[in-house]
């Protein structure tokens, strides 16, 4: 019987940390069970399994994992038990429930012990069937946990089998060494693919001790909004007198759990070498408040070993693996060969293609087989995300099963047939889709009508759960040879799609079909399209003229500050530089390191001095606004991390500021900048927003008694409200100082209404400090 429904379980994970159990294998070894099939003990000696489950429940585990890790047909066949899949798995669930009636039972599914093709001989469908059988046998569990996944394709088969055949929540957990699985998938890519495939909880277990898995947890928490699970080993395995032992003490796991909780991990347990004593230490974090994670996710596509973020600059999709007008490639596909395909793949990636479009549709060839072969061939030689270019549903599905990463399906259009067949495939296999703006009436002549089709496709896609960031719109390029207005129409359509908030893709070379000097035309069009916001451009990367003429840059890595830039500096300097250079990405990690050596107040002092230096640089005009804001963001991140420790050490906020843009004024950028700087200087700011009535300001002032009231106005027609606020305050004998600022505000006006003045954000913060220091003296 399902203890919780899925939604209930997932909601509860957002309320507090849940504790998984520890290892089964090492507990069995302690009790002398070192030979034979451990899963068969569910039938042969269920009491020992019950005792182990109960010991974990007594130690504090909320979730008990069934003794079915190796209970797939393939694994059981090693012991001649292939015909006992149902019996062993059902027994596993029953035993766990009998032993721990108050706990959540997680049906455990482990890897198959062999890889999927092309690494081994097991096909995707065969793997799916094996997993499906085990999932069905575990159907009475509350949740499923698919763990110790070291191959992304195996994860795909297992997760899809679970989604198809189990109604409860599904937890997936990978295993990583040096931040990659055995078959090379990095942590971010694993997370992105698991998320897109529909896992409810994503995480990692085994392979590393607490320190190693902490690094993994950090990356997972940064790349998903789903709940996260982490189960470290009790250290790295050591061989002692012919036995594998794990030596990490329970207290270390306890400290790990504290740190993991701060990252926003939702479920914590233990893997190899952990026992009830380790779980008892981990359980101490059980009632800690969950740290909420709200990551802004964008479009991401993956190969086996890397993730490409589609943000900002136009990304190149290589178009050459397409047999249209290529007789030699057509012949090769008919013959089942892949030499040219591999050559084109290598050439295009070398010339800057970030993704590759793969089309294998040839008359006289089995497209399903051809596309599968093409994908295999390409994945064998290059390591980029792939665009599956076909209108044959069977071929698309075959390719999705074969792909190692997260693909883009080219494409779905506005016809009923396409919507009903392609969208469910994309959802099932975790693929992104290209929404093509045509329907049964053909390609509309206007940008507006193309947008209507796009909206229709988007609505249907989002209805079945395909996320916004996984929908990329192709407004369809038509040649200017037949209508010179086609360029204008398509660029207008791209902008309209961008304003809706969706990504865009175009087949660039269509613009010049039928014309001479195609490369020059394509190149100019690509530049214009890029400036209109084009996210992905399907082009021939080997076209030299395109490369030279175009003003767009091929995807470059976003310039970030690397953690290695700091490594040889003393920690005090690292802290200082992180604020000075606005390194909001690395500062929390630097603060964590600093806390091992310095008190929170000492760290605070270093950070504040650095921010003061930013202010000085701004006043000297060596820094301008974006640099100040980046420093403020870094400071805010650091403060958020230090808040708890600073409170313990007795550090109070510097003061309370009530802030508002006055009535009838709707400008707030300037106000928000000042607020960001005040917060980074440890002031508490109560922000009433914009267009705030005088009455609301007075009422709030009476309620919270701020140290300073700050007002912003940007219009000559609204500045008068500032005087009204000051007058109302004084009439009520409220003598709290008022600080004013904004584009139209001058020091003369401030003097006239007897308010303080801040001409810019830095000066405003300085003035607040002077006011409060003046009050305190």
């Amino acid at each position: 019987m399902v203890k919780f429904n899925k939604e209930e379980f997932l909601n509860k994970l957002r309320e507090r940390i849940y504790i998984l159990d520890g290892a089964m294998g090492t507990e069995l070894q302690k009790r002398g069970f070192v030979k034979g099939c451990p899963e068969n003990l569910n039938i042969e000696n269920s009491q020992v399994i019950k005792d182990i489950h109960k010991s974990y429940a007594d130690a504090g585990s909320d979730i008990i994992i069934t003794n079915t890790f190796g209970a797939s047909k393939l694994k059981l066949s090693n012991y001649g038990l292939a015909n006992k899949v149902k019996e062993i798995n059902e027994a596993g669930v029953r035993i766990a429930r009998e032993a721990c009636p108050g706990c959540i039972v997680a049906g455990d599914i482990g890897p198959l012990g062999r890889y999927l093709e092309p690494l081994d001989e097991i096909t995707f469908d065969e793997a799916y069937d094996i997993f499906k059988e085990q999932v069905e046998s575990l159907k009475k569990a509350d949740v499923l946990i698919i763990e110790t996944m070291s191959d992304i394709k195996m994860l795909k088969a297992a997760l899809i089998a679970a989604k198809d055949n189990f109604q409860g929540a599904i937890i997936v957990s990978g295993t990583f060494e040096e931040l990659r699985t055995t078959t090379g998938t990095d942590v971010k890519t694993f997370t992105v693919i698991a998320d897109s495939l529909g896992a409810d909880v994503i995480g990692a277990n085994c392979s590393a001790g607490p320190d190693g898995l902490y690094e993994v947890a950090k990356i997972i928490c940064k790349h998903t909004n789903k709940a996260v699970v982490i189960q470290p080993n009790a250290g790295l395995p050591l061989l002692e007198e012919g036995r594998t032992v794990f030596k990490e003490k329970p207290e270390k796991l306890g400290r790990f759990a504290e740190k993991a909780a701060l990252l926003g991990v939702n479920i914590i347990g233990g893997c190899c070498g952990t026992g009830p004593e380790h779980i008892a230490e981990i359980t101490k974090v059980k009632n800690k408040k969950i740290v909420k994670r709200e990551i802004r996710l964008d479009t991401m596509l993956c190969s086996r070993t890397k993730t490409v973020d589609i943000t900002g600059k136009t990304v190149i999709v290589g178009e050459r693996i397409n047999p249209t007008n290529k007789k030699d490639l057509q012949e090769e596909i008919r013959q089942g060969k892949t030499n040219l395909i591999r050559k084109y793949a290598l050439e295009q990636v070398k010339e800057g293609a970030t993704l590759l479009d793969i089309n294998a549709g040839v008359v006289g060839a089995d497209e399903e087989k051809a596309l599968k072969n093409a994908l295999d061939a390409v994945q064998n030689v290059v390591d980029v995300p792939l665009v599956i270019d076909s209108s044959n549903i069977l071929a698309i599905e075959a390719a999705l099963k074969q792909s190692d990463g997260k693909c883009l399906i080219n494409s779905v259009n506005g016809t009923e047939k396409s919507l009903r067949s392609v969208l469910p495939l994309a959802k099932r296999y975790g693929a992104a889709i290209i929404a093509l703006c045509l329907d049964h009436e053909g390609i509309p002549k206007t940008a507006e009508k193309r947008l209507d089709i796009a909206k229709r496709i988007i609505k249907e896609a989002e209805k079945i759960g395909i996320k916004k960031e996984d929908i990329i719109v192709d407004c369809l390029v038509l040649t200017i040879a037949t209508n010179p207005e086609n360029e204008k129409i398509i660029l207008e359509a791209v902008k309209k799609v961008k304003r809706l908030g969706y990504k865009t893709i175009l087949g660039i070379s269509n613009i010049s079909h039928g014309l001479p000097n195609r490369s020059e035309i394509n190149s100019k069009f690509l530049t214009k399209a890029s400036k209109s916001g084009l996210d992905l451009a399907i082009i021939n990367p080997l076209d030299n003229i395109m490369q030279e003429d175009t003003e767009i840059r091929f995807l470059e890595e976003e310039v970030k500050i690397k953690k290695e830039d700091y490594d040889n500096l003393p920690i005090e300097k690292q802290l200082h530089n992180a604020v000075l250079y606005g390194d909001k990405d690395n500062i929390v990690e630097i603060v964590e390191s600093a806390l091992k050596k310095l008190k929170a107040l000492e760290i605070n002092d270093i950070l504040v001095k650095a921010l003061q230096e930013v202010g000085v640089k701004f006043n000297k005009k060596e820094y301008f606004l974006p640099q100040v804001l980046l420093s403020a963001s870094a400071m805010k991140n650091a403060f958020n991390r230090l808040r708890k420790e600073l409170k313990k050490e007795g550090k109070k906020e510097e003061g309370i500021i009530l802030f508002a843009t006055v009535e009838n004024d709707i400008h707030d950028i300037g106000k928000n900048i000042v607020i960001a700087l005040l917060e980074s200087n440890n002031f508490k700011v109560v922000d009433l927003g914009k267009n705030v009535s005088t009455k609301s300001i007075i009422d709030k002032t009476k309620k919270i008694k701020p140290d300073v009231i700050a007002l912003s106005a940007l219009m000559t027609t609204t500045i008068g409200e500032m005087e009204a606020v000051v007058r109302e305050l004084r009439e009520r004998n409220i003598n709290i100082p008022v600080l004013i600022g904004g584009a139209v505000v001058t020091i003369d006006y401030a003097n006239h209404i007897k308010a303080h003045f801040g001409k810019d954000a830095i000066e405003a913060v300085g003035e607040v400090k002077r006011i409060i220091n003046g009050k305190n003296n």
Binding site: T311, K488, K531, V559, Y581, E622, I666, I669, N672, T717
Partner: protein
């Protein structure tokens, strides 16, 4: 009355940097520059230019008052001084839409977008000004300094009269005569015979 939507605006990075307070003393490092570049790139897709304008005759220009034919009068000494020899004028309303106003959740990005928006609407107004100058020239006129509502003593309340006359479909007037979207400009361009 003429409406135009397909105006291509080129975003000038140097001007945007200056709006953000950049000057020769700043050390613009690659990272900050790449952040600004990214916002400019995205900015192109968030800009939705819209222009509406109407040519009007000028009935008279007195010391501090201008009467537009079949329209309304304007009380502004500075504007009257510019238009003293003009017999025609074009009223314009332009906007780049609200795409750049929407908070992105990142204050650095929002402040850069604010600067981009200010630059973009100014570029749009310049582009329209150039168009009107060309039209004026072909009719034997030169155009005079573009004068914005709310500046040089031109009462911002006249915003209401202008928008009632031009009826721009993408610009509204809120309380205290603030236009929505915020990055909008209304102005008058005088025509003087050459």
């Amino acid at each position: 009355m003429v409406e135009i939507t397909n105006v291509n605006i080129r975003l000038n990075k140097e001007k945007i940097l200056r709006r953000l307070g950049y000057n020769e003393k700043n050390k613009l490092d690659k990272r900050v520059e790449s952040i600004i570049d990214k916002q400019i790139q995205e900015g192109y897709s968030l800009i939705d230019p819209y222009v509406v304008y109407k040519d009007l005759g000028i009935e008279y220009v007195k010391e501090d008052e201008i009467r537009l034919k079949n329209a309304f009068f304007i009380k502004c000494k500075a504007l009257a001084n510019i238009l003293k020899k003009a017999d025609k004028a074009t009223l314009i309303a332009v906007t780049i839409g609200e795409g750049l106003e929407k908070p992105s959740g990142d204050l650095t990005a929002d402040s850069i977008r604010d600067a981009i928006g200010s630059e973009a609407v100014e570029e749009l107004a310049i582009a329209v000004n150039e168009l009107i100058t060309k039209r004026a020239k072909s009719a034997g006129y030169k155009t005079l300094f573009r004068f914005g509502v709310g500046y040089g003593g031109w009462d911002i309340k006249d915003q209401k009269k202008i928008l009632e006359l031009l009826k721009p479909k993408d610009i509204e007037l809120g309380t205290r005569y603030i236009m929505h979207p915020r990055k909008s400009i209304t102005a008058l361009i005088g025509w003087e015979k050459e």
